[in-house]
């Protein structure tokens, strides 16, 4: 079976050490994390992770099953094949003096990136989008000289309004669909 980039949304209890438990699981089972983002949600006590990994179908199922074995993991959605919005945020500091500045600004315009800081010989640019879009901007700005860059890691959400209703607390894969909620 072929490896592909998979996206999981993982709801976890917002407790100390939970990130460590999730990361430790991926490390010891040898699952390769492409990106991992974690943050709070609108529900108190619930954090949400977006984890992007390289995995084939079988591995993806086992990742989901293993995540469910962690007591603090509330729900796992493999949204790889679902219509969804994925976003990454990058901050890029570009070397740009007075001469280059208009050209860089023009590039930013094309990529819909925002300039968030201007110094005498540099610009800091903020861009939100898919990894492809960020890669595209980075490729162009590299010619001017990138002195610093940071990415947030992908966050994702499925499209449509009723995701939570279609998938209430119970998980979604064949192996775990038989779970009875205690």
């Amino acid at each position: 079976m072929s490896m592909q980039t998979r996206t999981f949304i993982v709801y976890v209890e917002d407790l100390p050490g939970v990130l460590n438990r999730v990361a430790s699981l991926f490390r010891r089972r040898g699952y390769n994390i492409v990106s991992l983002n974690v943050g709070r949600t609108h529900e108190p006590g619930v954090s949400r992770m977006t984890i992007v990994v390289e995995a084939d179908d079988d591995m993806a199922r086992r990742i989901e099953a293993n995540l469910y074995k962690l007591v603090n993991v509330l729900r796992v959605d493999d949204i790889t094949h679902e219509p969804s919005v994925m976003r990454d945020l990058a901050l890029i500091k570009v070397r740009a003096g007075a001469d280059e500045r208009p050209k860089v600004l023009q590039v930013c315009e094309v990529f819909r990136a925002r300039v968030v800081d201007v110094a005498a010989d540099s610009l800091t640019v903020e861009i939100t989008g898919t990894q492809d879009k960020i890669d595209g901007l980075v490729a162009v700005l590299r010619d001017y000289g990138i002195s610093e860059m940071v990415q947030s890691g992908a966050i994702a959400m499925t499209r449509g309004a009723e995701r939570a209703a279609r998938h209430p607390v119970t998980p979604s894969t064949p192996e775990t669909r038989q779970l009875k909620v205690a």
């Binding site: 209890e13 430790s24 079988d58 099953a65 293993n66 729900r75 038989q178 779970l179 205690a182």
Partner: protein, 576 residues
């Protein structure tokens, strides 16, 4: 305003919580960070067994849990006390044994400061526990202990560590004990099989011509022996057991073929390779069971009944996974199954057995020498197969699995997944408390016995009666066997000189016996059974004897090294 009378310390709450969980015995070792708990202990109806090394405490809790079906408890101090538990925790994790380990921890104000005897034991044990907790306030103790026991015993069981800071033990609060069931939003261990999957399983079983059942530890954990018997009898399906599945189906039942895998009998492994249906019940296709995966049971369709969804398709790809408790699945499936007979398949298996029987060491003369397989076979006969046997890890463990026939569950306790040398003696001490009426025998090698031999002192102090059979061949036998077979007999670091085990027993005020000939086995076993207190028997067995058959690592299951038809050493009677 708070009522001081009603307040009590975290240490008291800890013991009250353990009493509420039905704990009768704990295995432990005191130290600075757990002293408040120890100080409170005498007020509670819980027996404490003082171990000689904390690894022993974890194995005792493990042995107690396996022999009783209940949760075993170990209690130790912080730092080295806690880290010494690690091997036993990993052992319990790989064999799915319900265990709660309580570790003392430095005061919460000192956490993270590299204080004296501070170790981040929740961090250390994170990958080898089902779950773990760091408790820093007395209010958290009661609910955490309740959760820990629930997690340890429910679903796929496993070890849980509860790390309690010293100040949480010392401070007082109003204890709140809840009788409500534990609710953990992210933990839902109750599975029920899907009706359509059961229908498919029934159809596959009905259609099979050469079916086999692979019975694992799950049969014992789920108490599914009766259901398995009914299935076997109704559908005429032979059973092969994993090491940890031994005893889940009566060994003397004609449909029980014995143990499968690396040291399984040749007819078992060959039958698995020829089967057209494998019905795997509560087992996980460990690499010691399958041999090379690519060549494993290629002709068989596979049904995998398993409690843990993460085990599905992990090693062996199966045609039909059924997630659920083995007993529940079998109970639901049995009414749908019709009678089946497979005379051709039974005849084929009989053929395979006949070929192996002539090679069996039990049929060979001993030429006045003592063979480990004879010791175990004779022990089986002398104890009428009724002893609770706890083995260590290595050659003797495989001979035990081959020659001591267990007809009942929980009568064989052995370290399977982790293969922990030193497991047997402490695990037997734990089992002793779980089954006080059973005759308990430790079978250990000279190497493994010495790893935890200090627990003889525990036997003496606590007045514990176990019988210890040391299969003493002067080598780390299993490693020596591999060196013989795969490293051109270069015996690097495997010859082992041991103390005089008879004197060692006597130094502990226990009884020691030595056996060098087969005819001495009976009287020695009889003496051990009659003598009060722990008895150690030093069986001086043949040094360079090997366990056969053997599937070399990385080979297909049927590509076994068979038992030699005649052992030349036995013919000459000379020392090698």
């Amino acid at each position: 305003m708070s009522n001081d009378e009603a307040q009590t310390t975290g240490a008291n709450i800890l013991w009250q919580a353990l009493v509420r969980e039905g704990v009768e015995v704990v295995f432990g070792y005191p130290g600075g960070a757990i002293m408040p708990a120890y100080d409170a202990m005498p007020a509670y109806p819980i027996r404490h067994v003082l171990v000689r090394h904390e690894q022993g405490a974890s194995h005792m809790a493990d042995g107690y849990a396996r022999a009783s079906g209940k949760v075993g408890v170990a209690i130790v101090t912080s730092g080295p006390g806690a880290t010494n538990l690690v091997t036993g925790i990993a052992n319990a994790m790989l064999d799915s044994v319900p265990m709660v380990c309580i570790t003392g921890q430095v005061g919460s104000a000192l956490l993270g400061s590299d204080a004296f005897q501070e170790t981040d034991i929740t961090g250390v044990t994170l990958p080898i526990t089902k779950h773990n907790y760091l408790v820093t306030r007395p209010e958290e103790i009661a609910p955490t202990i309740k959760e820990a026991f629930y997690l340890a015993r429910s679903g796929r069981p496993g070890p849980v560590v509860v790390d309690v800071t010293k100040d949480a033990q010392q401070k007082a609060c109003h204890p709140v004990f809840s009788d409500d069931p534990v609710r953990l939003p992210g933990y839902r261990p109750d599975y029920s099989p899907l009706p359509e999957d059961l229908e498919r399983a029934v159809e596959m079983i009905h259609r099979a011509e050469r079916p086999m059942i692979l019975a694992g530890h799950g049969i014992l954990r789920a108490n599914a022996t009766a259901q398995l018997l009914e299935l076997v009898q109704r559908c005429d399906i032979p059973v092969a057991c994993t090491l940890l599945g031994l005893g889940g189906f009566p060994a003397t039942h004609p449909m029980n073929l014995g143990m499968m895998g690396m040291h399984g009998e040749a007819w078992v492994n060959t039958a698995i390779q020829e089967a057209d249906l494998l019905l795997a019940l509560g087992m996980r296709f460990d690499d010691r069971v399958t041999g090379k995966l690519a060549g494993y049971a290629a002709r068989a369709r596979k049904i995998h009944v398993e409690l843990d969804p993460a085990e599905i398709n992990k090693n062996v790809k199966v045609d039909l996974p059924i997630i659920g408790d083995v007993r529940e699945v079998l109970t639901q499936i049995l009414p749908k199954l019709e009678e089946r007979r497979h005379p051709g398949w039974a005849a084929r298996i009989d053929d395979l057995k006949g070929d192996s029987a002539v090679r069996d060491i039990q049929t060979l003369p001993d030429a006045g020498r003592l063979y480990a397989a004879h010791v175990i076979h004779d022990l089986y006969k002398l104890t009428e197969g009724k002893a609770l046997v706890v083995t260590d890890v290595g050659q003797h463990q495989m001979w035990e699995a081959q020659y001591y026939k267990h007809d009942h569950p929980r009568k064989l306790i052995t370290s399977g997944g982790l293969g922990t040398m030193g497991f047997a003696l402490p695990a037997a001490i734990g089992a002793r408390f779980a089954q006080p009426e059973d005759e308990v025998w430790v079978i250990a090698g000279d190497g493994g016995f010495q790893m935890t031999a200090c627990e003889l002192s525990t036997c003496a102090q606590e007045g514990i009666k176990v019988n210890v059979a040391i299969i003493n061949n002067g080598f780390l036998g299993m490693v020596r066997q591999w060196q013989e077979l795969f490293y051109d007999r270069r015996y690097v670091a495997t010859p082992m000189r041991s103390p005089d085990f008879v004197k060692l027993a006597e130094a502990h005020d226990l009884t020691g016996l030595r056996v060098t000939k087969r005819e001495e086995i009976g009287p020695a076993v009889q003496k051990a059974r009659e003598t009060p207190g722990t008895v150690v028997i030093d069986f001086r067995v043949e040094q360079e004897d090997s366990v056969y058959p053997m599937v070399p690592a990385g080979a297909d299951l049927h590509q076994m090294i068979r038992r030699p038809e005649r052992n030349p050493m036995q013919e000459t009677g000379e020392d090698p």
